[in-house]
Structures are given as C-alpha cells and as structure tokens.
C-alpha cells in the first residue's frame, strides 16, 4: 500500500515536471511556429497565387506548377542540383570514409595533426572559402598556374559550362570532408576491437574484416552520413552564389539560387514558392525512403 502511494506520488511529480517543461519550451515553440513553420506552410498557399509583392495575390490554381514543368530553366536547374548532390555525396562519403579508416589505424602517425588539417575547412565560413577559391581558379590564379606549369593544362575552372559544375563539387568536397570524417571516426570507435581481433585470429585479412565487420557495424553511421550529406548538398546556395552567380551560362544554377532569383530579383513570389514546394517534395520523398531504410534496419 505504501509502495503504491510512493509510486503514485512519483508519477504525479513527473507529470507535473513534464507540464512545467512544456511551459518552458513554449516561447521557443511559439517563435519557431511563427517564423519557421507558418512561413513554410504559407509557401504552399503562395505557390497557387501570382504575386509580385505589390497589390493582392491573384489565385491562379496550378498554373505556376504547369509553367514550372514546361520551363527549361527549372529542369536545367533541377538537373544541376541533382548532379551536384550525387557527385558530392559519392565523393564526400568515399573520401571521408577512407580518411577515417586511416586516422583510426594504429599505423598512422601524427593523426591528430592530419585530422585537424582536414577538419579546418569545416569551421571556415562558406562565403570566405568561395571568395578565396575563386581567386585561385582565375586564369592567373594559383591552381591554374600550377596546372599549366606542371601538366601544361589550361583548365577553364569557372569559365566553361563543362568544367564549372565539377569545380563546385571540388570546393564542396574540400569543405565538408572533415565533417563527415569525424562522424565516421565516431562510428568506427564504437566498434569493439574484440571483433577485429577474433577475426584476425581466424585469419581474416583487411578486406574481409572491412566487408564483414566494419561495414555492417557502421551501417547506421553510413545511413546518417548519406542522408545528411544529401540534404545539405541539395540545399547548397552560398558556394554558387558567391563563386559563379549560377554561371557560366546557368551551368551551376542550383534550385536554391533559382528560388532566390525568381523571388527577390524578378519579384515572382508565387512562382518562386512553387519551386520551393518542388524542392521540399524532393527532399520529402528522399526522407521517406531513408525512414523506410532506417525502420527496416531497426526490425532486423
């Protein structure tokens, strides 16, 4: 009887604490709803209107979406964004995974120094990075001169529609490799050494251990890195805005840049909102797929 009453007291205490907790987070929740959730939801409404910021919005149904699907510029921008995302995700995962393996290996010397060097670009602001790289990519810039003098290649880093998209990926990978490397290192350190030691005793080599121990036990980290990498790459803006402005000839005009231009340069807010909706839907579908993978992992 006494135990029961203590239990009830505890439950009431925690209930009260929980209620108080809600009160504490209420201001943040309200501000969050007002400045983030409401504008996000309003973008869906706005995508059905024609509005140039002056006067009242005019309801036009799905016309913005119809225009969107028939406009070359949107599809070109969509494809530029997808290409940038796929390449960035692939290279970032590949490079950061191998770097993390190297830095967790006992054979590597001066690990912390190398790790810090690779991680350094992560803490630098993207705008500053873009400005510095832009100078290096000029035809008399450091990279151009090095490639010309050593290999005899005159690479038009930012002035060719064929090269500029890859230049963007290069800078993006340089900046974010350190971030994903740290995530992989955290995952690798969570794998108990005993598995590797047991496998070694059984005669398993590096590749076998990698395929049968490291990768399966790193699955959740890999999924996390993959998802965050894809979302961040898909939403890239500052890099293209500063380095190329979407050029040359719209070859680096990613979706976020198109949304910005349509809204703030051309004052087509409804159309811009429609592109935002498409942007959201793409990431939403991607997230659903990722959630499915996660839940199936949990079931296993």
């Amino acid at each position: 009887m006494k135990k029961k009453s203590i239990g009830i007291q505890k439950a009431t205490y925690y209930n009260r604490l929980q209620k108080q907790g809600y009160i504490f987070i209420l201001p943040t929740l309200l501000l969050f709803s007002l400045f983030l959730i409401y504008p996000m939801l309003d973008a869906f409404r706005l995508s059905l209107y024609e509005w140039n910021f002056a006067g009242s919005p005019l309801y036009i149904g799905l016309k913005n979406f119809i225009k969107l699907f028939t406009t070359k510029r949107f599809w070109s921008s969509y494809s530029v964004t997808l290409q940038f995302t796929f390449l960035s995700v692939f290279l970032l995962m590949f490079i950061s995974f191998w770097l993390s393996l190297a830095f967790t290996s006992k054979l590597c010397w001066f690990k912390q120094l190398y790790q810090s060097m690779v991680f350094l670009p992560v803490i630098l602001p993207m705008v500053a990075i873009a400005v510095v790289w832009k100078f290096m990519f000029q035809s008399t810039g450091l990279l151009s001169v090095v490639f010309l003098d050593i290999f005899g290649w005159n690479i038009p880093w930012l002035t060719s529609t064929k090269v500029a998209p890859y230049t963007m990926v290069l800078v993006n990978v340089w900046k974010f490799t350190g971030y994903y490397m740290v995530m992989f290192i955290a995952g690798l350190l969570n794998i108990p050494d005993v598995y590797h030691e047991a496998a070694k005793i059984d005669g398993a080599g590096f590749w076998r251990r990698l395929v049968h121990i490291t990768l399966p036990l790193l699955k959740n980290t890999i999924i996390l890195v993959f998802v965050s990498c894809a979302i961040f790459s898909f939403g890239t803006f500052a890099l293209q805005y500063v380095m190329t402005g979407g050029g040359p000839s719209r070859s680096t005009e990613v979706l976020t840049l198109l949304i910005y231009k349509e809204a703030f340069e051309y004052t087509k807010f409804g159309y811009s909102a429609a592109i935002s909706v498409m942007f959201f839907l793409t990431l939403f579908i991607f997230s659903i797929i990722q959630l499915k993978i996660f839940s199936s992992e949990a079931e296993v």
């Binding site: 000029q138 035809s139 880093w157 070859s251 051309y266």
Partner: protein, 422 residues
C-alpha cells in the same frame, strides 16, 4: 499649498498636451535614400534647411545600402505606412511606377502650372534617362545622371607603339584593333586583357549591348521595340560584335578576373566600357595613375547612329501612399535643387540651374562625359527589367562560355523574352 500644487499640475498637463498637439500638427515626411558618403551629409543638410524654411514640416531620412533599396522600398510600400518619398535607380524604377507605388508629378508643388514647365527645369530627356518616366506619364525627378564612356590605358597604348591621341579608336573595328595590340599573352594564355567586362553579373553586358543595339538603330528602350528587334540582322551583328571580343578577336579572357574596374585600375586590362565620371575617384584607390588613363566616347559602328554609352541615374519619387503629397513634392524639389553642392564631388545632377562652368571645373574631361550624357542611350523602361537583363546577359554567356553560335543564342533569347514580356 495644496491649491498651488493643483495649479502647477494642471499647468504642467496643459503644456504637455499642447506640445503633443503641436507635434501631431507637424507634417512628417519620411524619405528613403541610398547611403553614399559624402553625399549623405548634403542630403541631411537639405533636410535641415527645408525644416528651417518650413517649421511645420519634419523630414526624416532613412539611409539604406544601395543594393537593398528595391527590397526595402517594396517592403515599406507593402506595409502601407511610414514612407512618403524615396530614391530609386532607373533600372528598378519602372517596376514601382508600373505597380502604382509612385505618385505622378504634381506641378503645383513646384510653383508651376503644367508638367511641361516642370520638365523645363531639367536637361532635355533627363527624366527618361534617369527613370522618372513610364507609359506616357512622369513620376520622378532626376537626382543623379551618369553615363558610361570607354576608358583606355594610354600607358598600354604607348607600350604597344600606339599614339595615345591620334590612335584613339572611333569605331568598334578600330577598338578591337587597338585592344588587340594591347593584349598580352604568356604561354598562349592572356595575362592582360585588351578589353574586359564583368560577365558574371548580367547588368554590365546588358548595358553595353543595349548601346550597341541603339547604335544599330534598334529601339531597345521599349519592350515592344526590344522584342521586334530580335529578328533583325542588325541585332545579330551587334551581338556578334560583342561576343567576338571573347571568342574570335582574342582581346578578352573572362577567366582572368571578374571586376573590370578593378582589373583596369590594377593594369590587368587596357580598356573597359562600364565607367562614368565617378571612376576617377575609384581609380585613385588602385595602382594605375590618372595620367596613364583617358576616358573617350564609346566607339560607334561605321554607318550606325551617333549614340554613346548607356545613360543611367536615380530619380526621387513620392509614394502613392503619402498623406502629404504636395509637401512631399516640395521637399523633393528642395532636395534635388542643389546640383552645385554635389558637383564638387563629381556627382552630376542634370538640373538646368547648374552652372556648366562648375561641371567643367570639378569633373575631369567633362567635355567627353557631357557629350556622351547628351548623346547617350536611354535604357529600357520595363517592370521586367531584371528578368530581361538576365535573359540578355545569358544570350551573351551562352556564346562566350557555352560555345553556342550567335544565331542559336539569339533564337533562344527570342523565345525567352517572348515568355518574359508576354
């Protein structure tokens, strides 16, 4: 004592109420202006002198960074309060006039009876050139007027064996020849451009091509004229002349740097087409000396029209939402009536009250700038200016960076513009 206190309290309340009343009775005018020292001080002084002249009016100037002006003014207009007058560059002003944000000029505020009398207060055509005119109506009065001329490095000319006076180019063909001689290469890579322009931003190639088109006799200041011009061989020739600078003539490597004004100032290019009289001041912050530089009129096409570089500027407007339009116009008239204060800093206001001798005194080579301002090309007045400019800039970039032919690019431009200007 108690009675005395009550009397004092009542007296205090009475004075307070009368002060509040007096404040309320004052006419309050809020003006949005872009910030640019040392001109901010002149504008602030204008507000002070106006308030001294009319004590019943209170002027508040809100200074905003130039690139933020359109968004800030749009937001203020949409908010429905707090803005009576504002400045706007001609490339953006058509949007505000077309969307009912600007009020028409009120001649009575200027002490005139007709709009024609008001127009006579400024140089002929300057309201069009500075963006105060739209669709047959006058909405803004000029605040600044400038024009692009061609800037050439005479030091580089001498270095290339050219005479900096006799060999100054007068036609585009001569321009290419001169620039070609001044271009420097190392390992087949251009390390000093004979000519340069910032192709990353659409505005510069658009403005220069705009002049080319008008020199070819095409009507680019109107949307219809622009659309109709794209089928003509003259338009194709103008586009080709421009893109050839980078693709065929070998005088321009866009990969060398973005900002041609900076490149010219540092001696990395020998000529550019996007500087006004204000560039003298800009040049002083770079390594190239004034004596090695000459502003010259835009070259012309052989047999083409005698039209110079693009003319642009700022107008000041009264917002349609202003409750005191007459006073607002009076204030703008006062603000834009001190060209002699601005000219000291090389800033030209096309008001007829300006003594031409002062312009000659304070603007180096004013003969070139003045002639080009008068002969210059008025720009397109369209609420879709930004989009149009971007499409035109893209037509140039497709050829220069994408390797597309001029014909194909022109066709793509036609398609894009018919959609934008429909």
């Amino acid at each position: 004592m108690k009675k005395l206190t009550i009397v004092f309290v009542l007296l205090f309340l009475l004075i307070s109420i009368s002060i509040v009343w007096a404040q309320e009775e004052k006419i309050n005018i809020v003006h949005y202006h872009w910030t640019q020292p040392p001109y901010d001080e002149i504008n602030a002084r204008a507000a002070k002198t106006f308030m001294e002249k009319y004590p019943n009016v209170n002027i508040e100037i809100i200074f905003i960074a130039d690139p933020d002006m359109p968004t800030k003014v749009r937001t203020a207009a949409l908010g429905g309060g707090g803005m009576d007058t504002f400045a706007m560059p001609n490339m953006q002003s058509a949007w505000f006039m077309a969307n009912g944000i600007c009020a028409e000029i009120m001649p009575s505020a200027f002490g005139k009876e007709t709009i024609e009398e008001v127009l006579e207060m400024w140089q002929e055509g300057s309201l069009q050139k500075t963006g105060g005119f739209y669709n047959g109506k006058y909405y803004g009065i000029p605040f600044e007027m400038s024009s692009y001329v061609a800037w050439i490095n005479t030091g580089h000319m001498k270095e290339a064996g050219l005479d900096p006076v006799a060999n100054l180019p007068k036609t585009w063909k001569e321009f290419v020849d001169t620039c070609s001689k001044m271009t420097v290469r190392q390992n087949d890579v251009i390390v000093r451009n004979g000519f340069a322009i910032n192709l990353k931003a659409s505005v510069f190639p658009f403005l220069v091509l705009h002049s080319f088109m008008e020199q070819k006799g095409l009507d680019w200041p109107t949307e219809q004229g622009l659309k109709d011009s794209l089928d003509t061989p003259e338009a194709l020739e103008a586009l080709t002349t421009f893109t050839n600078f980078a693709t065929k003539d070998g005088i321009f490597n866009p990969g060398l740097f973005d900002d041609e004004r900076e490149g010219f100032g540092n001696g990395l290019c020998s000529s550019f087409l996007t500087g006004g009289s204000w560039y003298w001041g800009v040049l002083d912050s770079y390594s190239v000396a004034r004596e090695d530089v000459a502003p010259i009129p835009y070259p012309r096409f052989e047999g083409g029209k005698d039209i110079g570089g693009p003319v642009y500027g700022y107008c000041v407007f009264v917002a349609e939402q202003s409750k005191n339009k007459e006073w607002a116009w009076k204030w703008l008239d006062h603000l834009a009536s001190q060209p002699e204060a601005f000219i000291e800093h090389g800033y030209f206001q096309p008001r007829n009250s300006l003594d031409p001798a002062l312009a000659d005194k304070y603007i180096l080579n004013n003969d070139v700038f003045d002639a080009e301002r008068r002969n210059g090309a008025a720009l397109l007045a369209s609420p879709k200016f930004s989009e149009t400019q971007d499409a035109v800039g893209e037509a140039i970039r497709r050829v220069v960076f994408g390797g597309m032919s001029n014909e194909e690019s022109m066709n793509a431009l036609k398609e894009e513009l018919s959609d934008i200007l429909e």
